[in-house]
Amino acid sequence: MARHVVAKLADFPPGTRKFIELENLSIGVFNIHGKFYALRNSCPHQSAPLCRGWVCGTLVATKAYEYVYAREDEIIKCPWHGWEFEIATGRSVFNPHKVRVRTYEVAVEPEEEDPSIPTFPVTVEDEFVVVYA
């Protein structure tokens, strides 16, 4: 697993998303209310760019004719066919055990230090959002 720097923390505010393009792999990284998530940017259905979809809630299963909108900002809806996935786990809403999208570990870390270069104390502004993929 390699470490990929996505952006400076200060440049990645809540409610935004960024993309990293690796060889044969596109990953969408989300800042949702200050927590970071990373998902493979490819829907398991027809390879649509999943992470370009909507971050939203969903209608949870209820009794017939009852509508309960919940899980606000926990779901991503694919931009093509509307398949819904739980952002935190990559599991689909309609079949969580069989249909899922790969998730990646995200961390907020100081920049990796190059020991050959003298370093100075860092402040919080120097933190970076990184993805392990």
Binding site: Q46, S47, A48, P49, R52, G53, P79, W80, H81
Partner: protein, 366 residues
């Protein structure tokens, strides 16, 4: 898909940037009415749709415009991306023309739409071909429009809709099909209009969008039976018909049922000399999108074989609608010749399109 073949996309929906785009092709009187009342397309029953207002979320441009409303948008977001050899334009905002109660306005809108499509789309990209809209609710006016645009080299079909007053085998439509035959234009029926002239299904009015989507094939089955048993293809032996976006996996069992029923009931319609399935194989095609997915992939491959997909199936993406099928990821495995036919060879022949992309011959081993 292991190799890439040329792709002809038989269902693309191009949008008007705004209603005023039609004004150069309409009288002042029509413009004034449209200032106040818009396009006056019949309602859709208030059903929801998928995606973002019915279209792929990523098809909406960032500048606030409408999806697929310029040639450049269609080129960069679809045609170039998948190296589409040809795309058949089936319109968007005026697809309710055949369902309007005012046939004269429907005829004027047809003329305006066809002129707009020719001048703003077909003349700007050699890959684009169009289906002419005509007011099928008034056959004399429809024929007039076919005669007006039917010889245009980039008009390759006449468009119709599923939900109409009478099933298409009825003699009411004969003048339209005679004109289609005379101009060598397939009649391309798109879903839409179900419920405008009555109940959208024999079971009445469904509540949800996901239900009304299941009504499409009910209409198509009724049209097909009508066409066969009223002898439409006996009376118009060169006529070709395409059913767009109404599903496909129902076809094989339907062919079997038509043939089974015909054997004992043949004397009711003695002009139907051949088994019904034979007329379908000779005269009718279906577009692929939205292709059904089976429990196991090979089941879908098998049903394509049973449905004679090498003769009856045409690829369509339905761009930019939310239920778009990717040209490279939607279709199941199939033999190489069948794949080539589905992706482009059958459509190229049906619409008389010159080959634009050279390909290697099919390998003998397949």
């Amino acid at each position: 898909m292991e190799e890439s073949y040329p792709i002809i996309d038989c269902d693309i929906h191009q949008f008007l940037p705004n209603k005023e785009a039609l004004y150069p092709y309409l009288s002042r009187a029509r413009q004034l009415d449209m200032d106040q009342y818009g396009l006056r397309m019949p309602g859709n029953g208030g059903y929801l749709n998928g995606g973002d207002r019915g279209y792929r979320i990523d098809s909406w441009p960032d500048d606030g415009g409408r999806p697929c409303s310029t040639v450049e948008m269609l080129q960069t977001k679809h045609l170039d991306l998948y190296n589409i050899e040809y795309g058949l334009l089936l319109g968007q905002d005026l697809r309710g023309i055949p369902n309007m109660f005012d046939a004269d306005f429907a005829a004027d809108l047809s003329t305006a739409y066809n002129n707009w499509m020719i001048e703003h789309w077909l003349e700007h990209d050699d890959r684009l071909k169009g289906a002419a809209f005509v007011p099928t609710q008034d056959t004399a006016l429809a024929v007039k429009e076919i005669e007006r645009v039917g010889s245009h080299p980039d008009i390759v079909a006449v468009a119709g809709v599923n939900g109409v007053q009478f099933p298409y085998g009825k003699r009411f439509y004969d003048p339209i099909f005679a004109a289609c035959e005379a101009y060598d234009l397939p009649f391309v029926i798109h879903t839409g209009g179900e419920g405008t002239f009555g109940q959208p299904t024999p079971a009445g009015y469904p509540t949800y969008y996901v239900e009304i989507r299941q009504a499409r094939q009910m209409g198509y089955m009724a049209h097909l039976a009508s066409m066969i048993f009223e002898g439409l293809f006996v009376r118009f032996p060169k006529l070709q018909v395409v059913f767009v976006e109404g599903g496909y996996t129902w076809l094989a069992p339907y062919l079997w049922k038509l043939d089974s029923d015909w054997r004992g009931l043949r004397r009711h319609t003695p002009w139907v000399e051949l088994p019904p399935s034979e007329y379908i194989l000779q005269h009718v095609k279906f577009t692929s999108q939205p292709i059904e997915t089976s429990e196991k992939p090979r089941q879908l491959s098998t049903i394509l074989e049973w449905s004679h997909a090498e003769r009856t199936l045409l690829f369509a993406s339905d761009y930019p609608h939310w239920d778009f099928d990717s040209p490279t990821n939607a279709l199941p495995h199939m033999p190489e010749q069948m794949m080539r036919n589905v992706l482009s060879d059958t459509a190229r022949e049906l619409f008389h399109l010159p080959r634009r992309i050279e390909v290697e011959p099919v390998k003998a081993a397949d």
